[in-house]
Symmetry: C2
Subunit: 282 residues, 2 copies
């Protein structure tokens, strides 16, 4: 509402351009404001966090949170351009850097095994912010995301695979209050949970499960939800996830060799329960 107030007070007209300079929240909020102001004005993304550079600034998903769930209000609205300057990462806190790495790992797991293997070898370089390593990781991430979004902009299926670990992760973010955990931290824990569930279903080898835990540990990311998250909390929050259809929660789960996943609600119901109980004390 403050963005709208300022835009109206400043008498911006339909030819104005909104510039989202900042992290994912700024990009999502500014993009939705641009989509709705005068029914749509131009906007440009200039993401300044690794998370925003490898994920949220690309693909046109914009939105804001509702007290009961994340990103429930928004629009599919493409920016006129995305401008990434890796120099902005020089002053990014370590936790924020690691948070972005969680999404980089995701691309490897869902569709790009060679990229995952590259990350396993180059994680120390990424954590040391070596410019060439960061630039390569950002470029491969954006390429992977763009290929998926080009095939399925409105998320009728394929695009949902970009949400590996996000359903568990969103539940953690909602359950602990936005900001207690960074998005990528919640996604990392969620990715371990999704991987564990895939393994329980017999869909992946144990070696993959171990490599997922190892790479996230290397990046100093959480590999389990916080203690305050109970089974009950997970279930209540996941019930309002956007991927619920006909009361059935569809999940992105790894299946097959490294780099392969499925988006499905067709899994044994107790596998989800078992996973939640394995990660939660209550």
């Amino acid at each position: 509402m403050k963005v709208f107030d300022k835009a109206v007070e400043s008498r911006f007209d339909r030819r104005c351009t909104f510039v989202a300079l900042g992290g994912g929240v700024i990009g999502d909020m500014c993009g939705f404001a641009a989509a709705a102001f005068l029914r749509g004005v131009n906007f440009i993304q200039i993401p300044t966090t690794l998370m925003a550079q490898v994920d949220s600034s690309v693909g046109g998903k914009t939105g804001i949170n509702h007290p009961l769930g994340k990103n429930l209000i928004g629009a599919f609205y493409q920016p006129q351009c995305v401008l990434i300057d890796t120099n902005t990462l020089n002053t990014l806190p370590d936790r924020e850097l690691a948070s972005g790495i969680a999404e980089v790992v995701k691309y490897g797991l869902i569709r790009d095994a060679p990229f995952f293997e590259w990350q396993e070898k180059n994680m120390p370089k990424l954590l040391a912010r070596e410019p060439n390593a960061l630039a390569y990781a950002i470029k491969r991430s954006c390429e992977n995301k763009a290929e998926v979004v080009a095939q399925d902009e409105k998320e009728s299926g394929l695009r949902a695979t970009l949400n590996l670990g996000h359903t568990f992760g969103h539940a953690i973010e909602t359950g602990t209050g936005y900001g207690a955990w960074l998005h990528g931290e919640a996604v990392a824990a969620g990715t371990v949970m999704a991987t564990d569930m895939s393994h329980r279903l017999g869909w992946i080898d144990d070696s993959i499960r171990k490599r997922v835990v190892d790479i996230l540990k290397q990046a100093k990311l959480p590999i389990a939800p916080p203690e305050t998250m109970t089974v009950e909390k997970f279930k209540n929050i996941m019930a309002v996830d956007k991927k619920v259809a006909d009361g059935l929660l569809r999940l992105i789960l790894l299946k097959g060799p490294l780099g392969c996943c499925v988006f499905t609600g067709d899994y044994e119901g107790n596998a989800l329960d078992e996973t939640l109980h394995a990660f939660c004390d209550n």
Copy 2:
């Protein structure tokens, strides 16, 4: 926000459908809520006022008001279907019926001279709510609107002509507080002002100006703004209109024979001033 709250609390998923049952405000608000909820769900328009049936329910413009201006926040979002039942008009108050007629008159003036001539002959039947006359007026109005929107959905030019009288009219609505005057009442007064300005510019014959005033009088619609609207008020409010570009206010003005109009910012500046002074005491 109440619509979003209810939808989230009720755990609606992406396959839900929002149904807008009511007048234009309901349709605009519900449509924007449908556009933004989960980044877009299905919606159906069931307009129950003449205004909504002949205009606002068709064409996909949705939105809500900002305290400083009308419809400044919204989306272009098409309904899956528009269902019009003329029986709903049986209980519509007379003022609401007349308000819808203002938009019917508009279609004749901007692009359909034979329809305007039909209205001049059949206005008593419309006011008496003769079912066949109403059905014909609604059908011709929707056809006119659909033809325009099909050519220019996002209002890069042609679609703006549907706003004849609306820039003056919106200023009246904002200046008097939404609801003091019905939308079509404000549009009627605005149409007379736009017609007067066109005549001042020498763009239309005096006979057209007279016929516009006569048909709106017949429909018992206002033919001048309320006394509380000053020249200053008009100017301040019109400066934030969505059709302002580079500080220039573009207007829809009649030009040429009956049924012809232009959307332009290219008019002698004092013609607007003279028009405002002619209609305002201060």
